[in-house]
Symmetry: C2
C-alpha cells in the first residue's frame, strides 16, 4: 500500500484550492459543524485532509449552490455523508453487527431521499420557468420579424 488514495496528505490550503474556496470558509464550516473537525487533533496542530474530504466539501458546496439552502439546513441534509463515513469506519475496524449495518444504511437512504425530493422539485420549477421564457422569446422574435422585418 504505497499509492494511497486515502492518505491524509492534504492541508487546508490544498483543499481550498482543489475545491475552489478559501481556508477561512473551510474553518467556518468546521466551526458550525457542517464539516467534521478532524477528530484527533491538538489545538494548534495543522488540519490534515484526504481527497475524500475534498469531494465531500465539493458536494456540500454543490448542494448549497444548487438548492439555495442555508448552511444550517444544509447541515441536516448532508448527514447522509456522516452515515456513509461512519459505516466505512465501523466496517474497517472489525465487522459491525448486521442490525447496525441496516440501521446506518436506512438512515443514509432517508437522507438521500430528502435530497432527491428537493432536487427534483427545483428541477421541475426550473423546467417550467425555462418553457415560459422560451415562449416569451418566441413571441418577441415573432414581433421582431413580422414588423421590424
Amino acid at each position: 500500500m504505497s499509492a494511497a488514495t486515502t492518505a491524509a496528505d492534504l492541508r487546508i490550503g490544498d483543499v481550498a484550492r482543489l475545491a475552489g474556496t478559501t481556508p477561512r470558509t473551510i474553518r467556518y464550516y468546521e466551526e458550525i459543524g457542517l464539516l467534521p473537525g478532524g477528530a484527533g487533533r491538538a489545538s494548534g496542530q495543522h488540519r490534515l485532509y484526504t481527497e475524500a474530504d475534498v469531494e465531500r466539501l465539493g458536494e456540500v458546496m454543490r448542494l448549497k449552490d444548487l438548492l439555495g439552502v442555508s448552511l444550517d439546513e444544509l447541515g441536516r441534509l448532508v448527514e447522509a455523508e456522516e452515515a456513509r463515513a461512519l459505516l466505512r469506519r465501523e466496517w474497517h475496524e472489525g465487522d459491525p453487527a448486521p442490525e447496525r449495518r441496516r440501521e446506518i444504511l436506512a438512515e443514509a437512504l432517508g437522507h438521500i431521499d430528502e435530497q432527491l425530493a428537493l432536487v427534483r422539485r427545483r428541477r421541475e420549477e426550473l423546467e417550467s420557468l425555462a418553457s415560459e421564457l422560451e415562449a416569451r422569446r418566441r413571441k418577441v422574435r415573432r414581433r421582431l420579424t413580422e414588423h421590424g422585418g
Copy 2:
C-alpha cells in the same frame, strides 16, 4: 372601461400579500432600483400598484429563488421587464417609430436569452445531480436488500 385589469388600485400591503412578501421588501427593492418607484409620486403619498406590478414582483422573486443570484445581479437580469414596460408605454402614447420598436424588442430579446442561458445551465446541473443521487440511492437500497434483507 370599468372592469379594469390595468387600474392602479393596489396598495403596498395588497401587493405584498398577493406576492407573498412584505411591504418592507417591496420598498427595499424600489430603493435599490430593482423595482421602478412609481414614477409620479410626491413624497409622503401612498404608493399605488397594478396587477402587472404584482406579476413583475413575482417574477423577480422567482428568479431570485431559482437562480440564487444577488439582488444586484438580478437587477441587470430583469431589465427585460423594463424594456417591455417601456414598449407598452411608448406604444400607448402615440406610435413609436419602427426603428425604435426594433431597438426595444431586440434589447428585450437579449435579456431573455441571458435569463434562458442561466436557467438552462442550472436545470442541467440539477439534472446531473439528480441522476447521481438516484444512482447512490440504488446502491444503498441494493446493499440493504442483499445483506440486511
